[in-house]
Assembly symmetry: C2
Homo-oligomer: 269 residues x 2
């Protein structure tokens, strides 16, 4: 998918919502466990119920890998279902990968070619030659962890390096990598006030923002500090939407939660 297609979707839908598909068999409605592939059955129902309200879906690979080969099959079915039925949605493999050059290329091929995701989240610690292999694929994007929404973010990400927090050093350095126009950045909503400085370093990039809702971040603040001319934001909500109910009405309940977020977004843009 191209960036302009993503921006068009956002404007058409008045939404920059990303729905996180963290499918946990301990949390999905009990009646789905009788299905042949409960993980896919749940993901499909959530997608069908929310697709007109969001512009992106983000399966987190950990939840699929935890079920081994079956989980990987469910991930494949989920992305294939999205690509076949909703080709205008931006798809994110939330995998947080990264390795030395030739190995990062393998991960890029796994997510961009074998599974055909539009993007994958990656970790910055190994630097340039672990990131650039992901940026060699046309119309594919790597979403680099900059400032995450968890408590552990304060262990290293906010430590001072060359007079600024490490996450700003990551943004500044990565924005100089080859094909950095294919980079987006993960920035947690729980630190919305940091978005102002972040926008000075990467004014034109898309930011993927987790942590609105369940983790306490404010949508209004994120938009205030993080929006750019092209919107430039994808706000992710996972648990708050997909586990709104664990009864037979789960898809309808998920739709309500997604609709509430979409309506807030429409007011803010």
């Amino acid at each position: 998918m191209t960036l302009s297609n993503l921006t068009t979707q956002i404007k058409n839908k008045n939404s920059f919502l990303c729905v996180g598909l963290d499918v946990d068999l301990d949390k999905i409605p009990a009646h789905l466990l009788k299905e042949e592939d409960p993980i896919f059955a749940f993901a499909k129902a959530i997608i069908d119920a929310t697709h007109d309200l969001c512009v992106a879906y983000k399966p987190n690979t950990a939840f699929f890998e935890a079920y081994g080969v079956k989980g990987w099959q469910a991930l494949e079915k989920t992305i294939n279902y999205l690509n076949e039925n909703y080709p205008n949605h931006f798809t994110i493999a939330d995998a947080k990968r990264g390795d030395i050059g030739n190995t990062s290329t393998r991960y890029a091929k796994a997510f961009f070619e074998d599974l055909n995701f539009d993007s994958v989240t990656i970790a910055p610690y190994m630097g340039k030659d672990s990131v650039e292999p992901f940026l060699e694929f046309e119309d594919k994007f790597a979403i680099l962890l900059a400032l995450t929404s968890n408590q552990g973010a304060f262990d290293f990400q906010t430590k001072t390096v060359d007079g600024k927090p490490l996450y700003q050093e990551v943004l500044k350095t990565a924005s100089q990598y080859k094909n950095s126009d294919r980079l987006m950045y993960v920035v947690g909503a729980t630190k919305a006030e940091y978005l102002k400085e972040i926008r000075e370093i990467v004014p034109n990039s898309f930011l993927l923002v987790p942590g609105v809702g369940a983790q306490g971040g404010s949508l209004e603040e994120v938009v205030k500090y993080g929006k750019n001319d092209q919107i430039g934001l994808l706000i992710n909500s996972s648990r708050g939407i997909i586990y709104a109910s664990n009864g037979t009405d789960f898809a309808k309940a998920a739709r309500s939660k997604a609709l509430a977020l979409q309506q807030q977004m429409a007011e803010l843009i």
Copy 2:
């Protein structure tokens, strides 16, 4: 596997060699491509030819994931083959995972429970609550990236934080995490002189050292600066061993390369 079992294996074999299983269908001998599962066939042949010379095997998940569901099945077959036939070998899923708390738990379950690896490599960027979930499993280990062997290591890992390089801050901080006795660290051999200071921070931990051979590190220097009372080292070689030949003699050639390394190790300990 317990740490004392690993140390016993090292002493019995006079070897602290780890063989990296980076199985690439473009590099394995052509005659294996006719096999039903060429990835597993190659891995099995390498394992059978080298098991008495090494104490650990490290499949890199990127190479398996690049082949989708089939790759994940091959990874499962490989770890099952190791656990069934060579239960005294220490197994490392080189996956470089890490995510917020509940999601890291899913990755830990994927590698420790579903696949039954002894250990998994993880990335430090997201901090404490991304690492500690991996440390809750008895006789399982997380191997944290500290100083990697690639050029990109100089982007962030060697930057100064609180008066010391970031990788030392990572070691110092992580060694205070709960159950840090289940932590090991990745330290690239291409910077062997750094091992002296690293040993002052984590004197008792195992270090997984990539980059000997193909990436230019010296085994002698690594042992000089990195060995502790219990040896405390696992030296990984991947391409240098497994792609020693791409003919029908590949397993024999891999054995020769592994034997040469094991003999050097025997002299050094």
